[in-house]
Symmetry: C2
Subunit: 203 residues, 2 copies
Amino acid sequence: MRGAILVLSGPSGSGKSTLIKEMVKDIGPYYFSISTTTREPREGETHGVDYFFVDKEEFKDDIQEELFLEYALVHGNYYGTSLKPVESALAEGKLVIFDIDVQGHESIKNRLPDITTSVFITTPTFEVLKERLSARKTDSEAIINKRLEMAKVEIQRIGEFDFIIVNDVLEESIKEIKAVAHTSKLKKAPASIDAFKTLWQGM
Amino acid sequence: MRGAILVLSGPSGSGKSTLIKEMVKDIGPYYFSISTTTREPREGETHGVDYFFVDKEEFKDDIQEELFLEYALVHGNYYGTSLKPVESALAEGKLVIFDIDVQGHESIKNRLPDITTSVFITTPTFEVLKERLSARKTDSEAIINKRLEMAKVEIQRIGEFDFIIVNDVLEESIKEIKAVAHTSKLKKAPASIDAFKTLWQGM
């Protein structure tokens, strides 16, 4: 059976990473999609783990050859998802997980609507997001403010997602994201529906 | 928070009743929708448990007053779902569960698309359905054949459902239906999305 796609979006500080970490513990075989980018690796980042780092020439060639499921140009750097590893994982029946922004979600949903389930993860309120980002003490105030502004913009598009998880009580949210991951694999591909219908029709 | 609707369809013999029984054990507050009918009660059937039994006059009056979420005329008898108990349960934040045919599913989905999740439950193959119905030894051959014919017709409409559960390994199917029930409560009502967007916009 062909795999399925699960897209997870949500602002930095929403608890998305924690939820993903918990979710993958018992969802069966999955492939966590890694983006390809032309930006320089930062300290501690590893090729093939955090990103696939390539130069602009290679990226542009791949665009020409339609090798991307989606891509975007952000602050002069390209970011994208190569089709090949996604297609392989789907062929192996895996659940392909994306941690991607609302724009990336739109592209994937348009391209593979029948097998894609999407979830937007958010804090209950804007204040809680602000508190959580400040409490982390890892980011400068400038970065926190940029993240808050981005969150406000992204929230305006939550209506495009299949599900919304309001991450208030962590234990509840973990149950919710696991349930969504489980059901995303029950999404029916049109080909298998047609096969099913034909088989029963002939009886 | 407003409740949600979960529609379960599938042929007699698919294991639907067993799955529903297991599902309701841990899904939180729910209301199992009871149909209203003008047919005579059969032996062992109780008003308010199996059906609400009413006469044709009353049923027709209710149709005129638009008191049904959906209704149909089958072999000279009316069957329908009264709006009132469903609305009350939704207002109490409950999950409203329907065990209904494909036609009923269509009506509910058209009427309340934003809060409705639907699942079609089936055996892996037509042969398995045949075996299961025969093994029960409760139905005459004529009834079994009628059920099999109905199943063939219903299967042609599985594409209208959000999810399909192929009930092969019971333990797996139980996990699946529980996951679907859980996620159905995460479906977003447009009103709550708008409220969310407005709140964050103003920050």
